[in-house]
C-alpha cells in the first residue's frame, strides 16, 4: 500500500509522502527551469505554513515580489542583500520575546527560514551569517547556490567553481575563467558548532526534504547548502536542470552529506564516480576549458571527495570510473 502524505516537519520515506499543499505560487518571473524553485517549493512543504521567510536580495527575491505581487503564501520579508542572518536573528529574537511575554501564543511553533543566494551568503552576507550561527539563533539558513551573482547578470562570487566563465571572470588572453577554489561553506558552518548542517540537491527530493525536517528540528541554527543549477548563467537547456544537478552528485562534484550533532554522514553514496568531465561538458560556462583545466578541476574534486571520506571515516564516495567506450 502506498504511504500517505505527511504533515509538515515529519520525515518521509518516499517522495509520494511529500505534502501536496503549495506555499509558493506560480506566476513569478523566474527563468525557465530555475533550480531555486524546486528547492524552495519542497522546503516550504517540509516547513509548513507556520513559517516566516527571510529573503535577502537576489534572484528569488526579485522574481517573486515585484509590487503589487507576491508569490509567497507564508509571511515573508526582504530587507537588504547582506543581512539575511541578522534580520532572521531579529525575527527569531522577537518571536522568543513576544512568546515569553504571552503576546504571541506560547505553544505555537513558528519556523524562521532564510533563503539566500551565494553572493548574499558566502560574500557580502558572510559576517551577518557568522553572527547568527555563533549566537545560536534557531533559524534554518538555506543557501541557494547557483555559483555566481545571477541576479545582476552572472558575475563571479566566492562560490564560483574553478574554471567557470562569468562576466567578471571572462575568457580572454590572460584569464580563462575562474582560477581559484571556491569557499567550503559546509566546513565554515561546522566551525561555528551549528547542531546541523547538510548539503542538498533538487535531484534528490527525499534526501532534501528529510534534511529540511532535521534542520527545522535542530535546537539551534541549521545550515542547508542547496545546489541550484542555473540554466541561464551556466549555459544549458532549461530542461536539463535536474540532470545537471544529478550529474553534480554522480561526479562527486556535489557530495550529499550532513553534519548532525558531531557526526558526519554521506547520505547519497556514490561508489563509482563519473569523471567531472561529464558534468563540465553539459554546461556552456565550462566550454572553453582545456584538458589541463579539466584535469585541475578533477584534482580539486578528488581532493574534496577525499576530505569528505575522511570526515565520515570510510570511502563512501568511490574512485572515478571511466565508462567503457562502446
Amino acid at each position: 500500500m502506498a504511504l500517505k502524505e505527511v504533515g509538515p516537519m515529519e520525515p518521509i520515506r518516499t517522495h509520494m509522502q511529500i505534502p501536496r499543499e503549495e506555499l509558493i505560487a506560480p506566476g513569478h518571473s523566474a527563468c525557465q527551469g530555475c533550480g531555486h524553485f524546486i528547492i524552495v517549493r519542497h522546503l516550504l512543504k517540509a516547513a509548513g505554513p507556520n513559517t516566516i521567510v527571510v529573503n535577502p536580495t537576489g534572484c528569488l527575491e526579485v522574481v517573486t515580489t515585484v509590487f503589487p505581487y507576491s508569490s509567497w503564501k507564508v509571511p515573508w520579508i526582504h530587507v537588504a542583500f547582506e543581512n539575511g542572518g541578522s534580520v532572521a536573528s531579529g525575527v527569531e529574537a522577537a518571536i522568543k520575546s513576544l512568546q515569553k511575554k504571552g503576546i504571541l501564543p506560547k505553544d505555537e511553533r513558528i519556523n524562521v527560514v532564510v533563503f539566500a543566494g551565494d553572493g548574499g551568503t558566502v560574500d557580502i552576507g558572510f559576517q551577518s551569517l557568522s553572527g547568527m550561527f555563533e549566537r545560536r539563533h534557531k533559524v534554518v539558513y538555506v543557501l541557494l547556490d547557483n555559483e555566481a551573482y545571477m541576479n545582476t547578470g552572472i558575475q563571479r562570487s566566492g562560490s564560483t567553481p574553478y574554471g567557470a566563465w562569468t562576466t567578471t571572470t571572462p575568457v580572454g588572453k590572460r584569464w580563462k575563467g575562474e582560477w581559484r577554489v571556491r569557499k567550503d561553506m559546509m566546513q565554515i558552518a561546522v566551525a561555528h558548532h551549528v547542531p546541523y548542517a547538510a548539503t542538498i540537491n533538487p535531484a534528490y527530493p527525499v534526501d532534501m526534504y528529510n534534511k529540511m525536517v532535521k534542520a527545522l528540528k535542530a535546537e539551534g541554527p541549521a545550515f542547508l547548502h542547496a545546489y541550484s543549477p542555473c540554466p541561464t548563467g551556466w549555459r544549458f537547456d532549461p530542461s536539463l536542470t535536474v540532470e545537471v544537478a544529478r550529474m553534480a552528485v554522480l561526479t562527486g562534484y556535489w557530495v550529499l552529506y550532513e553534519y548532525d550533532h558531531g557526526n558526519y554522514k554521506v547520505t547519497v553514496p556514490v561508489l563509482k564516480r563519473k569523471p567531472v568531465r561529464e558534468f563540465v561538458k553539459m554546461q556552456g560556462r565550462f566550454r572553453h576549458m582545456t584538458e589541463e583545466q579539466i584535469k585541475k578541476l578533477q584534482e580539486i574534486i578528488d581532493e574534496q571527495v577525499e576530505h569528505i571520506n575522511k570526515l565520515v571515516g570510510k570511502t563512501v564516495i568511490g574512485p572515478v570510473v571511466e565508462e567503457q567506450k562502446k
Partner: protein
Amino acid sequence: MITMVKMVRKALTTNYAVAHAAKDSDVDVIAAYPITPSTPAAEKLAEYVANGELDAEYVHVESEHSAASALVGASAVGARAFTVTASQGLIYMSEVLYIASGLRLPIVLGVASRALSAPLSIWGDMHDIAPLRDAGLIIYFVSSAQEAYDSVIQAFKVAEDPRVHLPAIVDYDGFIMSHVTEPVDVIDREDVLKYIPKKVTWNTLNPKQPISIGTVGDPDYYYEFKYQQQVAMENAVKVAEEADKEFEKMFGRGYGLIEEYRMDDAEVAMIAYGAHAGTARVAVDKAREEGIKVGLIKLRLWRPFPTEHLMKALENVSVVGVLDRAMALGAPRQGPVVKDVISMYASDPSKAPKVASYALAIGQRDVKIEDLVAVAKQLDEFAKGKEIPNKTICIGLRE
C-alpha cells in the same frame, strides 16, 4: 494639570538615562554593538536584561549594520525594538535605517553623536547624524539627560503612531552629554506604559495573515511610496507636538518642538541644538547684561523640520545665527541646520531674516560662554548693518 505620577530622582548620565527610558518603555528586543561614546548605554541595557529588570531579548550583534537589521526583523514581527550607537556605527547602520523607514517600522535609536573619521576622533560633534537627515527618520536633538529620557519615551509614541510609522532617533552629544552625570526624574514603568501602551499597528509578519514585506518598487510605484513617507513625516510634526503635550499633561514636563528663550523682544537670535543650546542660554543672559537684545531658539525636533514654528519664532528678528556642529563639505554653507533655515524662506525671501552660519564644537573643540557672547555681539553688529560673510564663520578654528 500634573497627575499623581510616581517619579524618582536619579543621578544618571545621558547614556544611562536613555537606557533607563528604553527599560521603562518595556522594549522587547535590543540589538547593540559597542561604540564610543554610546557603549555605556549598551552595557546598561545588558545589565538590565542580565539582572531581570528588563524582560527583553538582547542580541549581541557582530556589527551596527546587523544591529539595525535585527531590529528591522524584530519590529517586523511586532516587537518594540531599540538600540544605541554613534559615529561610524550610525553611518554603518545608515543603509538599513533608510530601509527601516521605507518599510515603515517604528524602531527607536539613541545616538551619542560623535565625529566621523578621518582623522579618527572619538569625540563629540554631529557629523554622524547630519547625513541621516534625508533618511526618513524622526530626529530629536536633546540638551539634557532629562530631556533625553523623556524624548526616548516620546519617540516611541510618535514612531508607533499609525499616522507616522517611522523610525526615530534621539540624538545627544557624545561625551559632553553621554558621559555627564546629572539629575533625571524617572517615571514608573506602569505610568510610562499608560503613555505608550503596547499596541502594534504597523505591518507585521504573522503566519495567520501572511503578508510580504520589502517588495520591489518599480518605476510605476516607487515614487508613490517615497511620497507616503514624506506625508508620514509631515504628519509627524503634529503628532510630535501632541505627544509632547500629552507627556506634559501626564508627567509635568514638556519641551515643544522648538524652545524659545528670551525671544519676546529679541532683535537677533541664535539657533542652537544639543548640549550647546545650554551654553548658549547662559551666553544669552550674559549678552543681555551687556544690552544686546538677543534670544535663543533651541531646536529640538530636526526631522521633520518644524518650519512653521520656527518661522513664527523668527518673525520679529532681523538676523539669526545658526550654530551648527557638522561641516557639509563643499556646500554653500557648512551647517546642516542652517541650510534648512535658509530654505524655509524659499517661497518668499522677503520674510527672511538675514542668516549667519556658524560652525562650532567640531571634534569636540570646547566652546566657552565667551565664544557665544561674541556671537551674540556679532549678530548685533550684523543687525546694525555690518556685512555678513558669505560663508560659514568658524568659531574656535586656528588660522
